[in-house]
């Protein structure tokens, strides 16, 4: 069938052997690819008795039917695993070039099981799967390793872990194409636990397309739509994602100093405008992307991609730091060491508050830009305080007796948006299947930017429907797999037309959202099976009880409880947050329970 390669590569690192077999096409029809197929496979492969850092956990790399077709942003792929940070289902996805290359190697899915007895890297080339000794590569940082293994954006692509993954940091990322990250939830630690240093891919196939003429027209139409949107043709290319810094600060929803405030007096100094004026070298793009939101920035010490908004916030406002050069440099360091920048920055912020309040004996203080790089180095190598920091903010704060000072949901550190100024965002964080995250739906469009329309950000009643729609749409887009920024110029329903042209299966309007709903419910079932309950659908006490003392969100806390009740009802879940039999039957998931 066109679109999918219909082939799974299943690798056992215990024995350094592999097998291939056909992809279950009924599963593909229902879950599409990427995050959806990853969740479905994880359900079967990794049960509640499995420690995330044991050989029994798996890494599931998956692309989608659109990947490598040339459709706009069809470069992305995902990894699914059980998170060593949260214990939940985890998928992380990334752009760049590796996902395209993996699809061209002829596979939809790669499952990696077991643990190699010694460091190993995998080379996929000319239809062969080669297990290469990585003993001499172990310890190398990401940039040096990527170069050594022959990264070539259009021919040979490197995915790897840095020292953080090797040292089982629970906030370690998997890096691809040098500076792209499967960042959140610690997938790098899972890869490191398997003694797997890198996966290098060279592909040679072109994915088949069922209706090339139709697809060609949709490519043309999408190009026009993206060019006509001021968001994808001007806003993202001109200022990148960091342009959000000033508006989030303006409305009083920019989490500051570990969420002790909602406005940062140094926001302008770390804004997208400042980055563009003083540090921008040029824009860059992932494969087949006409948007080009990536910043290439330069300081006296480093030059490279980024930083993105969330990174700039995490090491900036959240740490009380207004030194943009230091943030650019610590972003580069995180990429080289293989660390998730959001969790790294927010965990340092948590340590700063613990230290300032006397719960932790360290020199960390808000505003100490000079200590960021040291902290990150210590995290990657588990040295000194880094051994605690690298466990993430919840374990850190719990160890020092103040778990409530971890700004996280289900143990995953929040991004920049403070839920006290965006009620829907709080509900979204609390119900996100991988923990506090803005990529499982994001209410900033509706509650702040007016995309596609503006709704009252302090409104509580009726918010759940918007949150659910965004969560389902995100799950669908992550299953195709394309970039969420395309969705700013192209409606959700449009993707059904593209998918139909590529695969030959007729997906109707509404089918994509239904796929997303199916994926979201399956992930919820997985977390329920792991023991997560409604008590885990919550936020830190600070966000529920401590209102900002000034600014546009003054007096507001997250009014989570009524939103959560409404959310469960609207989702078709019972009062304990468990999908009902009727809902599961409706989504074709009955056979799982």
């Amino acid at each position: 069938m066109a679109g999918w390669s219909e082939k799974v590569l299943d690798i056992d690192l215990n024995t350094q052997t592999y097998k291939t077999y056909p992809l279950d096409m009924e599963m593909a029809r229902l879950f599409i690819g990427g995050r959806g197929i990853g969740a479905r496979l994880l359900w079967d492969l990794v049960g509640p008795d499995v420690d995330p850092l044991s050989p029994e956990n798996v890494l599931i790399f998956a692309n989608g039917p659109l990947t490598a077709t040339g459709y706009q942003t069809s470069n992305r792929f995902s990894v699914t695993t059980k998170s060593p940070l949260t214990g939940t289902v985890l998928d992380a996805n990334s752009g760049g070039f590796w996902g395209m290359q993996f699809k061209k190697a002829g596979y939809d899915v790669m499952i990696v099981r077991g643990k190699s007895p010694h460091p190993v890297w995998i080379e996929i080339r000319n239809g062969e799967i080669l297990f290469q000794d990585a003993s001499e590569l172990w310890g190398l940082r990401v940039y040096a390793l990527t170069e050594k293994l022959g990264q070539n954006n259009h021919k040979r692509n490197v995915l790897c872990v840095g020292p953080a993954g090797e040292n089982l940091s629970r906030i370690a990322s998997i890096m691809n194409d040098r500076e792209r990250a499967l960042a959140r939830g610690g997938p790098g630690a899972v890869m490191g636990s398997k003694n797997l240093k890198a996966i290098v891919v060279e592909g040679q196939y072109r994915p088949a397309i069922a209706d090339p003429d139709r697809f060609k027209f949709l490519l043309y139409e999408t190009r026009k739509l993206l060019a006509a949107s001021p968001l994808t043709s001007q806003a993202l290319p001109e200022f990148g994602t960091v342009v959000l810094m000033n508006i989030m600060n303006n409305i009083g929803a920019l989490a500051t100093r570990n969420h002790q405030q909602t406005q940062f007096e140094g926001a302008e100094a770390i804004s997208g405008e400042e980055l563009t004026e003083k540090y921008l070298v040029k824009n860059a793009s992932c494969w087949a992307c006409p948007i080009g939101c990536t910043r290439v920035s330069k300081t006296d010490r480093v030059e490279g991609e980024g930083p993105e908004f969330e990174t700039t916030w995490a090491f900036g406002a959240q740490c009380g730091v207004d030194d943009l050069a230091a943030i650019i440099e610590v972003n580069s360091l995180c990429n080289d060491l293989g660390l998730d920048t959001i969790s790294a920055g927010s965990t340092i912020a948590c340590a700063m508050e613990l230290s300032e309040k006397g719960y932790l004996d360290s020199d960390l203080r808000f505003g100490r830009a000079d200590l960021l790089a040291r902290c990150v180095e210590e995290m990657a190598y588990r040295r000194d305080l880094g051994a605690d920091l690298t466990e993430g903010s919840l374990r850190l704060a719990t160890k020092y007796g103040r778990p409530e000072l971890s700004m996280s949901a289900k143990g995953l550190e929040f991004p920049a948006y403070d839920p006290r100024g965006m009620q829907g965002q709080g509900l979204l964080y609390a119900t996100s299947n991988r923990g506090g995250c803005h990529m499982r739906g994001n209410m900033v469009g509706l509650e702040v930017l007016g995309l596609p329309k503006l709704i009252d950000r302090f409104q509580v009643q009726g918010k759940s429907s918007y949150v659910i729609l965004h969560q389902n749409a995100s799950a669908a887009i992550d299953s195709l797999v394309v970039c969420k920024f395309v969705n700013m110029g192209v409606a959700d329903e449009y993707f059904a037309r593209v998918l139909s042209a590529v695969t030959g299966i007729q997906y109707a309007t509404g089918d994509m959202i239904r796929v997303g709903e199916r994926v979201y419910n399956l992930e919820r079932l997985y977390n329920n099976r792991e023991g997560f309950t409604t008590k885990d659908d919550t936020l830190p006490p600070r966000l529920l009880t401590e209102a900002p003392l000034d600014g546009p969100s003054q007096g507001w806390v997250s009014n989570l409880a009524p939103m959560l009740r409404e959310y469960y009802r609207t989702r078709g879940w019972d009062e304990n947050g468990v999908p009902t039999k009727r809902k599961l039957a409706d989504l074709g998931l009955t056979d799982l329970v």
């Binding site: 001007q234 806003a235 000033n246 508006i247 409305i251 702040v448 546009p552």
Partner: protein
């Protein structure tokens, strides 16, 4: 006078980040701003209304009604279409 703060490419068009503008309502402030900085006109206003995706806040609260009154101490912020995450 109310203070108007500009962001992203609006700064380049106006040649400044911030200025004081007379006006009793948000709409009057925006119209006076455009009169003083004509390059902003084509970006901010269309047929007398805010262009789609233009964001205006008054003291940090999103404004959709241009008749909203402003006072001497107020801050009006104007953002062009922006996105990210």
């Amino acid at each position: 006078m109310p203070v108007v703060k500009l962001y992203a490419n609006l700064r380049k068009l106006a040649g400044t980040k911030e200025l004081s503008i007379m006006g009793a309502t948000v709409g009057m402030v925006v119209n006076e701003l455009v009169r003083q900085s004509p390059p902003l006109g084509a970006v901010v206003i269309e047929n007398g209304e805010l262009r789609r995706h233009i964001i205006v806040t008054l003291n940090g609260r999103n404004i959709t009604d241009l008749e909203t009154p402003v006072t001497e101490q107020d801050i009006v912020a104007i953002f062009p279409p922006i996105a990210g995450g």
